[in-house]
């Protein structure tokens, strides 16, 4: 194309493509409220997600109180217990973890780490947040509508999700489905931004194989989300029609209270396929950004280059691809054709190979490293241990014969909380402690951070380790009250009390975290531009916090990969990615 000149702060892009320009806000409102700046959007996403996360945390308290002290709390009925389960699960998985990793960390870190001024489509990025906020408001509104939120379980299995016995059948389920559709629409706008920014918006010299692993994790997770969420969207549309229009996509012929429902001929298992085609990639949508962030945290705080960078990248990509072929392992007991079980068990166990490569590489990165036990590092180490623990029980549950007796028990609850609840949230904490100095310009309080870590880390084990044991004893999950069961010894009740006390303590510890964030905002010691002496680009910005446009007058130029720590012969123990080779003293 002939016309290669575009305005803006930077030189004409290669190939003469017309790229979007940096948006300059003109008022306080467009700068801080309806902001098109990815950094502001990231903070908006994170604060919203953490807020709904605290609500979901309180719901888990209520569930634990009921399990430990059945009958003691009048306001916890069987119906409300199922509503707590549903809202806790759905909020945490979709509205907290997905939004935090992709909307929060993704928005903040992608432009800074790849050396861009902003996301490529700032306007769509802004819309993404506001639609997400609307989705959260609709979700929260279900607490206040007649009948309350849906109590169908977070998987919303039909037919029971829309039958009259289920709490929240009137309004709750409808708003839940609408909220999910909104979330997906909003996420798509943001997700397109993240992918295109990484693919097309990088600084000079930032090849794909020089990207920090954080960006690789977020990129792969976003691509997966863009391909997995459509299944949930379609499922939500069809269930909404089943509920509101009386169609029968998921509804077989059913007799309810002596009368034939007007549904018939639908396939309940179709929902399970659609849901888990979304649901399993969702596990890795949460896990892959965590993998990436942990890699960077470990490398930075152990002052050592990441072991096997190329393998780490391929492992992320392979895990992402494989995770689309394993969804059936959630459905071993659904009554699907048993032949599928063999296929899905095989793919599930194969996925352990790239995952194990990652764990070995983290351990080998730590090996003989100069380990600084900073707060982010503690969380990163906590993640590795927890992820290995949760992953090993995943090998149990991935096998059909082991899963069939265990799938209805607390063992499953313990497994997925370890692997996709506790492990990613530890990374969220680690990431927040790590990048808080860049976001605010101040350090968080170290003592409070360590207190938060140890209580959360040990507390999480106190909560979820005993649950494995309960599950092996056969204690069923999803039960509001155990009552008298011949095979459950009375000691199970004692263990339940122990778990609940631990859960309450861990919950309170999160207030320490919130207090630390707020307090440090005003009283934290000034951090300077690069307190962790890290190599990646976000630490090399001219201002901290990074100003509008991130890089001042000229974009950074990248000369090296993201992991030049403790390079022999160098002046300092880290070499920023934008440091030219000329400034490096090469040993003869």
């Amino acid at each position: 194309m002939a016309d290669a000149s575009v305005g803006g702060m930077d030189a004409a892009p290669i190939g003469g493509a017309h790229d979007a320009e940096l948006y300059h806000p003109r008022s306080w409102v467009t700068k801080y409220v309806f902001s098109q700046d990815a950094k502001v959007i990231a903070i908006q996403y994170s604060v919203t997600a953490l807020t709904i996360g605290l609500v979901a945390l309180v719901l888990s308290w209520l569930m634990r109180l009921q399990l430990a002290f059945p009958g003691c709390f009048d306001f916890i009925t069987a119906e409300s217990y199922y509503q707590y389960i549903t809202m806790h699960g759905m909020s945490m998985v979709v509205y907290v973890l997905t939004a935090l990793f992709l909307g929060g960390f993704g928005n903040y870190l992608i432009p800074l780490m790849v050396g861009a001024r902003d996301m490529v489509f700032p306007y769509a990025n802004m819309l993404s947040y506001w639609i997400y906020l609307l989705a959260v408001i609709v979700l929260a509104a279900t607490f206040f509508v007649p009948g309350g939120p849906t109590g169908a379980g977070w998987t919303l299995y039909p037919p029971q999700a829309i039958m009259s016995g289920t709490p929240g059948r009137d309004w709750g389920i409808v708003l839940m489905l609408v909220s999910l559709m909104l979330f997906i629409a909003g996420f798509t706008m943001g997700g397109l931004n993240y992918v295109v920014t990484v693919l097309q918006g990088r600084a000079r010299g930032m090849t794909l194989m020089r990207l920090p692993l954080t960006v690789w994790g977020i990129l792969t997770a976003t691509v997966m989300a863009l391909l997995a969420f459509p299944a949930l969207f379609v499922g939500a549309v069809m269930m909404l029609f089943d509920r509101l229009l009386g169609t029968s996509f998921f509804m077989p012929a059913i007799v309810e209270a002596g009368t034939h429902l007007r549904h018939g001929g639908g396939s309940p298992i179709l929902w399970q396929h659609l849901f888990w085609f979304f649901g399993h990639p969702e596990v890795y949508i949460v896990a892959l950004p965590a993998f990436g962030i942990v890699s960077d945290l470990i490398s930075t705080h152990a002052r050592k280059n990441i072991f096997g960078y190329r393998m780490m990248v391929w492992a992320i990509v392979v895990i992402g691809a494989l995770s689309f072929a394993v969804w059936g392992h959630h459905m071993y007991v659904s009554g699907m054709n048993p032949t599928f079980g063999f296929f899905f068990a095989t793919t599930t166990l194969i996925i352990a190979v790239p995952t194990a490569i990652k764990v070995y590489n983290w351990v080998l990165t730590l090996w003989r490293g100069d380990i600084h036990l900073t707060v982010p590092m503690l969380f990163a180490l906590g993640f590795i241990v927890t992820f290995v623990n949760g992953g090993l029980t995943g090998l149990f549950l991935g096998n059909v014969v082991v899963d069939v007796p265990l799938s209805g028990t607390m063992f499953v609850v313990a497994h997925f909380h370890m692997v996709m609840g506790v492990a990613p949230i530890l990374v969220v904490f680690g990431g927040i402690y790590h990048w808080y100095p860049k976001v605010t310009g101040r350090m968080t309080n170290d003592v409070l951070g360590k207190l938060h870590f140890w209580v959360t880390f040990l507390g999480a084990y106190a909560i979820f380790f005993p649950m494995h044991y309960l599950g092996l004893m056969g204690v069923p999950r999803r039960y509001y009250e155990l009552g008298e069961m011949a095979f459950v010894p009375p000691s199970a009740a004692t263990l339940n009390v122990f778990i609940t006390v631990a859960a309450l303590v861990v919950g309170v510890a999160q207030l320490v975290f919130v207090f630390n964030l707020v307090w440090s905002l005003f009283r934290g010691t000034p951090a300077g531009g690069n307190p962790w002496r890290a190599t990646t680009l976000e630490w090399q910005t001219p201002q901290t916090p990074p100003a509008h446009g991130n890089w001042g007058g000229s974009l950074p130029v990248v000369y090296r990969w993201a992991y030049d720590y403790s390079v022999p012969g160098a002046d300092q123990d880290f070499l920023p990615q934008n440091q030219p080779p000329a400034a490096r003293t090469v040993p003869a």
Binding site: M1, V6, G15, A17, H18, D19, A20, E21, Y23, V120, F121, Y123, T188, G191, L192, V196, L199, Q200, G201, R202, R204, G205, M206, T207, L208, M209, R210, V223, L226, L227, A228, F229, P230, A231, F233, V234, G235, V237, M238, F241, L245, T247, S248, F249, P252, G264, G265, G266, S267, L270, L274, R310, Y559, R560, W561, D564, P581, A582, R584, V586
Partner: protein, 240 residues
């Protein structure tokens, strides 16, 4: 990684070969798709995502068609029009399909003239595309009202499986929404082309980004995709 890219430290690099070479080539530039504008990449990725949506819709339709115990209505009879006393199967759908495919032709020509900076022809062809699209949606509305008049509802129909009506209205409705959105954007872009927004680099109302003729091509990608999806809906719903 450290061994890719120019620099004084890497004098003696031999380029990788085989698959490693493919990956290195793809990864080695500042942009994964050199000289492809951001908006175009975004549209491709969005369409990939949308493919999964329509794929899930069609797979779900096939699943319920298999799961239902009632007989599936015969599409050749249901979608027939009575012309001069004789039922002609699929005639309406044939015309609709022809119109939509034709609109892809005018769209492709609009893109071509857009890159030649031929303002008037581009705008005219965009309007023609929009007219074809509106025609398609109008005929779909006719088809819907005819079926509704015959008693087809999302929850039932006179001929057999209730899933027939549900899947029909849902899938054609979702596709028709895509066409309608496409028509709206065709009109907006035609107006902007006609006013010369893309010649002057006029800024957009919402995004305040400069307009350029690549927008015509990006819209074209969407339009061709909607066409392609229709071919699959046609094959799986009307011919099966």
């Amino acid at each position: 990684m450290a061994d890719i890219g120019p620099g004084p430290l890497h004098e003696a690099i031999t380029p990788p070969t085989g698959w490693r070479g493919v990956a290195a080539d793809w990864a080695s530039d500042q942009r994964a798709f050199t000289s492809v504008p951001w908006g175009k990449v975004m549209m491709w990725i969005f369409l990939l995502s949308d493919t999964f949506i329509f794929g899930c819709f069609l797979l779900s339709y096939m699943t319920v068609r298999m799961s239902t115990t009632d007989p599936w209505p015969n599409p050749s009879e249901v979608f027939a029009l009575t012309i001069s006393g004789r039922p002609v199967p699929l005639i309406l759908i044939a015309i609709m399909t022809f119109i939509l495919i034709s609109s892809s032709g005018t769209m492709a020509m609009a893109v071509n003239f857009g890159y030649r900076r031929d303002r008037a022809r581009t705008a005219a062809l965009l309007l023609a595309t929009a007219a074809f699209g509106a025609c398609f949606v109008g005929m779909q509305a006719f088809e819907w009202s005819k079926l509704i008049a015959e008693g087809v509802r999302p929850w039932g129909n006179p001929w057999g499986a209730v899933q027939f009506g549900s899947a029909f209205f849902m899938i054609t409705g979702f596709h028709g929404t895509h066409v309608t959105i496409g028509v709206l954007f065709l009109l907006i872009v035609a107006r902007r082309v006609w006013r010369g927004d893309f010649d002057r680099g006029q800024r957009g109302f919402f995004t305040s980004q400069r307009g350029h003729y690549e927008i015509v091509e990006i819209l074209g990608l969407y339009w061709h995709f909607v066409d392609l999806v229709w071919v699959f809906i046609f094959a799986f719903f009307y011919l099966w």
